[in-house]
């Protein structure tokens, strides 16, 4: 017999392929033809291709075993898409499909030599070897890693359009077989909003490969589902059930997006995934031509594919019997039906590397066949129920696991719950749908009642519906896991029953240790096919029952899902000020600061500094946090948040303040001005804007609810422009005529409200971090660009130029202003920053007071100091360490450093310990290149204009 025994049958009554629509595709370099509706698997088998892959460890040739999504042998590369499930993916015109895990080719694979030494490569062998000489392990490792299975990632894969959606259905049904469809229809018929999710391309479940009567039931149910208004998603997988019925769904059938992640908050989840057929463990059970009964029935009935020429059918159940009947019907020679229920058994399959040739039976006879069909029972995919807290329990009589824990908002129906005729399954599904709808209405009522809305919920809460469903039966089934021979248990990991027994004997004898040691159940099939057999083999090795051994925990997702599908559209908000269009039109180099896009510079930061120090510069400081504070108790709040005093700030004045957390660590700083009797404006650092608002609310809502203060964020309500430089007064004066800008009337640290460039209600502060005479203008943002452009136009003759964040940083460093989070860190307490005068321990309370009191008594605090290198041309990199003399002992570090265009020398701020904080101390700085240089601690933080004459001007 040869591979050509495979092929296409005459048309079948239930086939899902369209024989009038041929599709050409490429497999392993050959051009083949299939039909619309074919999966890659059915198309390949119809073309006589029996071997699709090589196994992971021993590189044994493998053919289709389940011929559906779960097939461990059916992984292929489709274009740039690795590990595609060829039993599930439909063929498309021009598709390029390549086998995986083969070298150099599918037919001749050199690594198959591994199979010859298989007895030495027992599971976990690598833990016992490559130990010595240790130096050689990296070389071994490189070789081992070439054995990694799977397809290839194409690093140039474009970022395709993925999508996301939320939904809040009353009932989500996972599984569109008879029970799932009935549940969805029944729930919708009583008014529930239902989402039905089916993993396959059609609704119908196992009815699709059943009899004509089965398919008639499926069609009728599908009509009911549609008539009841159920939202149906096929080729879509419910990947996980998480807390509070948060359900992840990956839709692969969306018309616009490659994949769409749907996040559903299901009031009730109905789990109806059916059953997964279990392979049988015996010698040769991974030979091409050994298939499960479901695979054969799908191939024959749905795709009109001939899976072999002469078959042995090993059956323990009705599905196996039906497979034999199907084969017989389409003219395939059924050489032998081996009935497990009569004590008959299959011992081994043997043949060439291409195919099974003969099957040895328990009675000692050998039957020639190129197809061995096994029907030895089921695995209940309880994965989704496990995620809801269920631990499945084994039932010996029916030889499978069942759910055991009742979760109120998760119901199961169909094969996972028990056995029954199609009518019984439909009836159970209907009852489940009604139960789900009833419970969903209660949940909905509760949500409505708890959610403040314009319309109150009507009526009392409906009663919680008790479970009224009749139980499904459990058909007797022989316990069939392993024959008298050893075979493969985990096909994707190439782990055999012999490996499991050996590992158990070595002490890896609990399910979890066994799976970690042998990697059984850890591969792409994630236990769907092999878990029960793994447990059964372990039970056998330990001389225990399956129930005693228990099962492993199924972890999400239900099926592997692409990173692209999970990521969906990735929302990354960005913020810009109202002047951003101008920045972009004027050659800005932007910098990303958190969510903000800000101007870093417009070409040359040093020039920007020089111009600001000589003429006038303007800079966009909109991201500066701004909080509008109103109420009689604002001073109390300020006193609580800042370390200094605030009870007597006069109207029209601005004050600097330092904020600490309760551990005394510097949290933020900024200025606050008093605009009116009970009206203040607080500024925070840009990065602290959101957290300081929350911090203020926390104090107001929890510690001092009696204080009357309203905090309102107005950060971007105002576009903030700092106008700095010797000519700033003149420039601002050209735009303002209702405020006296003279030094006498509007001096340093004052605030005024007025009209700027015709824009009313602007707030002006006389402050600045540049050290120059400066005005900070806060302009209602709808006119921010207007004011900026007016400043540029009106100041042209004064030499006005914009400056960016980098120039700001240089100027603030020249002035020695520290930056919270740069010159301080997560442990820097307030006494370190040299502003002890601002820490008022005589206040009754303020955030951080207790720790600051103790810190002030201690000399074990670091100190932020200004540092200058002896060689003015050397700028030590930020984070360079300051060492004690010639030792490697760290006594501090450079926290900020720049070349100062104003002083033409390098300037730094740094943190040093107490012993090195005194002005004039000589420091040793270790440069990044390893060189040690000398530097000195300065007497004042400001390198430039320490008396502050310029800014007061």
């Amino acid at each position: 017999m040869s591979a050509s025994e495979l092929g296409r049958l005459a048309a079948q009554s239930g086939e899902v392929i369209d024989r009038t629509s041929p599709i050409r595709f490429n497999w392993n370099g050959n051009s083949l033809t299939g039909f619309k509706g074919d999966t890659i698997a059915s198309a390949l088998m119809a073309n006589g291709e029996r071997i699709v892959s090589r196994s992971m460890k021993y590189h044994r040739p493998r053919g289709y075993m389940t011929a559906d999504f779960w097939d461990p042998n059916g992984f292929v590369q489709v274009g740039d898409d690795p590990n595609v499930r060829s039993g599930h993916r439909l063929i498309e015109d021009g598709m390029t499909i390549e086998p995986q895990n083969v070298w150099p080719s599918l037919d001749r694979d050199i690594k198959a030599a591994n199979g010859l030494v298989g007895r030495f490569l027992s599971a976990g062998f690598y833990y016992k070897t490559f130990i010595k000489p240790q130096k050689l392990w990296p070389a071994y490792e490189r070789v081992l890693s070439t054995f990694a299975p799977g397809g290839k990632v194409d690093l140039d894969t474009p970022h395709r359009y993925h999508d996301k959606r939320y939904t809040h259905p009353d009932v989500v049904v996972a599984g569109g077989g008879p029970a799932g469809m009935a549940a969805a229809a029944a729930a919708a018929e009583v008014g529930a909003n239902v989402l039905l999710v089916e993993h396959e391309h059609q609704l119908g479940g196992h009815l699709l490969w059943g009899s004509d009567a089965d398919r008639a039931v499926a069609a009728e149910l599908a009509n009911r589902v549609s008539a009841a208004g159920v939202e149906v998603l096929t080729n879509t997988t419910l990947t996980g059930r998480y807390e509070d019925n948060w359900v992840g769904i990956v839709q692969r059938s969306h018309p616009l997006a490659v994949e769409r992640l749907i996040k559903a908050r299901a009031k009730i989840l109905v789990v109806a995934p059916g059953l997964i057929e279990r392979p049988y463990v015996f010698a040769g059970n991974d030979k091409p031509g050994v298939m499960l009964s479901g695979a054969v029935r799908r191939l024959v009935n749905m795709y009109g594919v001939k899976p072999g020429a002469r078959a042995v059918v090993f059956t323990a159940n009705a599905e196996g019997d039906a497979a034999a009947a199907d084969l017989d019907r389409v003219g395939i020679d059924v050489a032998r039906v081996v009935d497990a229920r009569n004590g008959e058994n299959v011992v081994s399959a043997s043949g060439s590397s291409k195919s099974v040739k003969s099957v040895k039976l328990g009675d000692g006879s050998e039957v020639e066949a190129d197809l061995l069909v096994t029907a030895t029972g089921w695995t209940a995919p309880t994965s989704l129920l496990n995620m809801a807290g269920d631990r499945p329990v084994y039932d010996e009589g029916s030889a499978r696991f069942y759910p055991s824990v009742t979760v109120d908002n998760v119901l199961s129906t169909g094969g996972i719950s028990g056995d029954g005729s199609v009518d019984e399954l439909v009836a159970h599904g209907e009852a489940t749908g009604q139960l789900a709808a009833g419970r969903a209405s209660v949940v909905k009522h509760r949500v409505q009642a708890l959610t403040a809305r314009s319309v109150p919920v009507a009526g009392p809460e409906p009663e919680w519906t008790a479970d009224f469903r009749p139980e499904l039966g459990r058909d007797d089934h022989p316990e069939l896991f392993r024959s008298t021979t050893h075979g493969i248990v985990d096909f994707s990991e190439d782990v055999g029953s012999k490996d499991l027994v050996a590992a158990a004997k070595e002490g890896y004898d609990s399910v979890e240790l066994l799976k970690r040691y042998t990697t059984a159940t850890m591969g792409p099939a994630q236990g769907k096919l092999e878990t029960v057999n793994t447990v059964a083999v372990l039970a056998e090795a330990r001389g225990e029952t399956i129930e005693q051994v228990g099962t492993t925990v199924w972890r999400p997702p239900y099926v592997p899902i692409t990173l692209g599908g999970l990521a969906g559209r990735n929302f990354e908000p960005v913020r810009v000020s109202s002047i951003q269009p101008w920045h972009e039109a004027n050659g800005v180099t932007p910098i990303i600061a958190g969510a903000w896009i800000r101007p870093e510079h417009y070409g040359n930061p040093a020039d920007e500094v020089n111009n600001t120090r000589t003429n006038v510069g303007i800079t966009d400081v909109t991201p500066l946090g701004k909080l509008d504070l109103q109420g009689p108790d604002v001073p109390k709040l300020l006193s609580q948040l800042y370390t200094n005093k605030w009870m007597k700030l006069p109207i029209g004045s601005v004050r600097y303040g330092l904020m600490c957390a309760e551990d005394g660590v510097v949290l933020d700083d900024g200025v606050t001005g008093r605009l009116g009797e009970e009206h203040y404006l607080m500024t925070t650092t840009s990065s602290g804007a959101a957290s300081i608002w929350e911090w203020a609310e926390n104090w107001l809502q929890t510690e001092h609810p009696e204080w009357q203060v309203h905090v309102t964020p107005v950060t971007t309500g105002y576009t903030s422009i700092n106008v700095a430089g010797p000519k700033s007064r003149e420039l601002v004066g050209r735009l303002v005529d209702d405020v006296d800008l003279s030094a006498e009337a509007f001096d340093y640290m004052r605030v005024r409200t007025g009209t700027v460039a015709g824009v009313e209600n602007c707030i002006m502060w006389r402050i600045g971090f540049t050290g120059e005479l400066s005005f900070e203008l806060h302009v209602p943002s709808g006119y921010g660009l207007h004011v900026w452009e007016t400043l540029m136009a009106e100041g042209a003759d004064l030499g006005v130029k914009p400056f960016g964040l980098e120039a700001q940083r240089i100027m603030r460093l020249e002035k020695g202003h520290f930056i919270v989070g740069q010159d301080t860190d997560g442990l820097t307490q307030a006494p370190a920053v040299g502003m002890n005068a601002l820490i008022k321990l005589d206040k009754e309370d303020f955030a951080g007071k207790a720790e600051l009191a103790w810190a002030m008594e201690s000399d074990q605090v670091p100190h932020v100091v200004a540092i200058q290198t002896v060689d003015p041309t050397i700028v030590p990199g930020e984070a360079c360490q300051i060492l004690k003399g010639t030792t490697n002992e760290i006594v501090g570090r450079i926290t900020s450093s720049r070349m100062s265009p104003t002083l033409n020398r390098s300037v730094c701020l740094g943190q040093v310990d107490t012993a090195h904080a005194e002005a004039g101390t000589e420091l040793t700085v270790l440069l990044r290149n390893g060189q040690r240089i000398k530097a000195n601690v300065m007497s004042h933080h400001a390198h430039f204009d320490p008396e502050g004459e310029r800014l007061r001007g």
Binding site: Q134, P149, A502, R516, G568, I592, E878
Partner: protein, 429 residues
């Protein structure tokens, strides 16, 4: 004392393979005794390493390691198996460097291939502040002879071609801290290796043995527990055991165990989630970490990508995992490596992390005599396993705190002397 078991080697594999023989149990199953010199609670890498070094370095072998489930069932088998020593503080660097040294020689020391893959570790910086922290770490590291330096985007691209180093990205890569000695290791093998090594020297491992109470006399608290008390033993699901020394080597349950002795800890328990993809051909040669994007990733020799992220945002003892984690993770991974969008996430899981306020552990003596802690390991416990075991063993054997763990004493919190790792360790892998 156990008889000397056969050594693992290629020759042994061949012989046993040829003869169809099996190997002896990796550790013995023995009856639980009534009395031990030291009881260690927690059969993870910390507890087993402590037992191993007690036996090898100090000859203390009448030791029981108790685990409520199976060995390695907690954080030891759930972490992402990354090891490195490029910490921020000199204390941290010295400590983890010792751990890395022990990991380096572990395969030979334990006669078990733990598959240490020294492949290099990159911590990406996406903004100025992160880049400054990377420089800070590099500068501190080089003072202690740790191979650690900041490299630029071109060098990064050469090392890891799958990274998007263009400046088109929302999170542009400005540089990275490159630490060639960092790498990954087979975490389960570390657990089994220590267990096997300790077993050979007479230590007993007891699985499925849950500690229900710690027996303390003479303390200030209720039932004679708490500060001033003295440990007399433990109550387990299999009966009482008396022991003068009880060591808490648990993670995720550290506060529950120490509460049994009346010792309060500065710990909140948070799940840390991780995930693994299906295997593909090996393409990622180094460990890549991005703090800003809360993601770290490496590729195993089997071809799977292993991912981790930040701890969950609220206290929790539930390790079921969340969709938000995988969703956010996937988004962030694709920001870094857009070419991976067709890779499939295979499995997600979580482990419990005991977070302390300063991202540093709590080690050594407690106010209850005979009750020691090796806890609070946050997300970095696996890296520290060997050195934690070695120093805890020394602490027990010498009844004094080794210099290497002086900074990690419980008293530092009451004294306000926190360790400064916080800045660097928000996603410290």
């Amino acid at each position: 004392m156990a008889s000397k078991p056969p050594r693992y080697s290629a020759a042994g594999l061949l012989t046993k393979g040829a003869r169809g023989q099996t190997w002896p149990r990796v550790w013995r199953e023995v009856p639980l005794q009534k009395k031990y010199d030291v009881v260690i609670i927690g059969g993870g890498v910390h507890g087993l390493a402590t037992a191993y070094y007690l036996a090898t370095n100090h000859g203390i072998t009448n030791v029981a390691v108790l685990d409520k489930a199976y060995l390695g069932s907690g954080g030891s088998g759930r972490n992402t198996a990354i090891v490195r020593s490029n910490y921020l503080t000199p204390e941290g660097v010295a400590f983890y460097d010792r751990s890395l040294t022990l990991y380096n020689s572990m395969a030979v020391d334990l006669n078990m291939n733990v598959m240490f893959s020294e492949r290099g570790h990159l911590t990406l910086a996406h903004n100025d502040s992160a880049l400054r922290t990377m420089h800070w770490r590099a500068e501190v590291n080089k003072l202690q002879d740790i191979d650690s330096s900041v490299i630029d985007p071109n060098e990064i691209k050469k090392l890891v071609p799958s990274l998007d180093t263009s400046n088109e990205s929302r999170y542009p890569i400005l540089g990275a801290l490159y630490h060639p000695p960092g790498g990954i290791i087979r975490h389960d093998a570390v657990v089994w290796g220590y267990a096997r090594g300790a077993d050979h020297r007479g230590v007993e491992m007891h699985q499925k043995t849950e500690v229900l109470d710690i027996l303390v006399e003479g303390g200030d608290g209720p039932d004679g527990k708490g500060p001033g008390g003295k440990v007399t033993g433990v109550r387990t699901s299999r009966g009482d055991i008396s022991a003068p020394i009880v060591v808490n080597c648990t993670a995720g349950w550290a506060t529950l165990i120490s509460d049994m002795a009346g010792v309060k800890l500065p710990i909140s328990t948070r799940p840390l989630q991780a995930a693994v993809t299906e295997p593909v051909k090996v393409f990622l040669p180094a460990v890549v970490v991005s703090g800003s994007l809360h993601v770290y990733v490496s590729q195993t020799d089997r071809g799977e990508l292993v991912f981790g992220a930040a701890v969950d945002p609220y206290n929790n003892y539930n390790i079921r995992g969340s969709l938000d984690f995988t969703e956010g993770l996937a988004g962030h991974v694709l920001e870094l490596m857009p070419g991976l969008s067709r890779m499939r996430l295979l499995r997600q899981w979580a482990g419990l992390c005991d977070m302390t306020p300063d991202y540093s552990p709590v080690m050594g003596f407690t106010p209850v005599e005979g009750f020691l802690c090796d806890v609070g390991w946050g997300t970095y416990g696996f890296k520290a396993g060997p050195v934690a075991g070695e120093t805890m063993a020394e602490c027990i054997a010498t009844n004094s705190t080794p210099k290497l763990i002086e900074a990690f004493k419980l008293e530092r919190f009451a004294a306000g002397n926190l360790v400064g790792e916080k800045g660097a360790a928000a996603v410290g892998h």
